[in-house]
């Protein structure tokens, strides 16, 4: 057998061995395995659009305290022009909450009793390093570890505010899509695009470790 043919044969054997080992290791690993057929980057846009045709998205069922906070925030937030609001609506299929709205919901007494729930879509390391006080964690990529707790909270919650790192982070959007898969109503879901970065930049309270 000549050298080139032998090299190709060796490469094929090693490649096949790599595939077999990889598939086996992925199947038996305790956590963090990748599901071969799952689209981890589904934003659920089509489903949200379909839902919004049936029932337009809204942000008008806050408790009186939160509603006052939001109206006050809207009045004083001169930078939030209608053009920017339109941009946000086009960029995100889900209902979007601004920083001031998030603060209003955070301070809403209803939040302390589980009426509104903050969901942190980041991974264990990031969540334990710091998160919005009271937020539960639901890592989109390891949803099987969190889904029971998430569904428990979602059932009783009026609003579910989902965030990740902010900036280019899309994990909160993917998590919203996951929640649609579990039939959590779209009009309960609120995306906070500013996320963790904006929350900490503005000096808001932070909780560390597990809650």
């Amino acid at each position: 057998m000549n050298a080139a043919r032998r090299t190709v044969l060796e490469a094929l054997i090693l490649g096949a061995l790599g595939v077999v080992v990889a598939i086996t290791a992925n199947a038996v690993r305790a956590s963090g395995s990748i599901k071969f057929s799952k689209n981890y980057f589904d934003k659920g846009t089509g489903r949200v659009m379909a839902a919004s045709l049936e029932k337009p998205a809204r942000l008008d069922h806050l408790s009186p305290e939160a509603a006052r906070g939001i109206s006050s925030a809207r009045l004083h937030d001169s930078s939030d022009t209608s053009a920017q609001a339109t941009d946000r609506e086009q960029q995100y299929a889900y209902q979007v909450v601004t920083f001031d709205q998030v603060v209003a919901i955070f301070n809403d007494p209803n939040t302390a009793v589980g009426g509104n729930v903050f969901v942190d879509a980041r991974n264990d390391r990031e969540y334990e390093a710091g998160h919005i006080p009271g937020a539960i964690q639901a890592d989109h990529y390891r949803l099987e570890d969190y889904i029971d707790m998430l569904l428990d909270h979602a059932e009783s919650a009026e609003k579910i505010i989902v965030y990740c790192n902010g900036g280019n982070c899309e994990d909160s959007i993917f998590l919203c899509s996951d929640m649609l898969d579990f039939e959590i109503p779209c009009d309960k879901l609120y995306l906070y695009p500013g996320g963790w970065q904006e929350w900490t930049d503005k000096g808001m309270p932070v909780a560390k470790g597990r809650e």
């Binding site: 050298a3 032998r6 090299t7 190709v8 044969l9 060796e10 490469a11 094929l12 054997i13 090693l14 490649g15 061995l17 790599g18 595939v19 080992v21 990889a22 598939i23 290791a25 992925n26 963090g32 395995s33 990748i34 599901k35 071969f36 057929s37 799952k38 689209n39 981890y40 980057f41 589904d42 991974n123 990529y141 390891r142």
Partner: protein
């Protein structure tokens, strides 16, 4: 010229240069593969960021994230042990040729989109070595490519597990 050829050939026949190349390449690929295996989801996100594979259907993207790190480890082990050295090196060359231009293209995209000077661009390329200064990463990959070519050209069969078994 003939004398220098003779020196190179004699050095190659000693098996030491190939052994060193195998240990460096093999060790690095075992390390980089293991880092990716430790957090496959993170690696999945990294390769998605390059936008090379379609997100739907998800099989190609997920399959790459599952298989590639283990392929690196298998090739690395083969090189360290001296089993199917040419085949393992050929696979490493293919991986380097596939991914190094992709890293370069992403750096150029960042350069043109954000105006960051090329030599100051840093990001986690998903290579298993964390956030790196990209021009240094590209130089390292070029070095690994040259080492791989050396391993492919070597005629030595010493210090190999196959030589011990035979």
């Amino acid at each position: 010229m003939a004398a220098s050829k003779s020196i190179i050939r004699r050095a190659d026949e000693s098996g030491v240069p190939l052994l060193l190349v195998r240990l460096v390449l093999g060790g690095l690929f075992i390390y980089m593969g293991a880092m990716k295996i430790a957090d496959p989801v993170d690696f999945l996100r990294m390769i998605r960021a390059y936008g090379l594979a379609p997100e739907t259907p998800p099989y190609f993207l997920n399959g790459t994230a599952i298989v590639l790190p283990w392929l690196e480890v298998v090739c690395g082990i083969a090189l360290v042990l001296g089993l199917w050295v040419r085949g393992a090196t050929a696979l490493i060359v293919i991986m380097l040729l596939a991914f190094t231009p992709v890293v370069l293209m992403r750096a150029l995209q960042i350069h043109s989109a954000e105006g960051t000077p090329f030599f100051k661009i840093t990001f986690d390329c998903g290579c298993g070595t964390g956030v790196e200064i990209i021009w240094i990463k590209l130089c390292k990959n070029t070095g690994l490519f040259l080492l791989s070519v050396l391993a492919l050209l070597s005629r030595s069969r010493r210090f190999r597990l196959t030589a011990l078994i035979a």
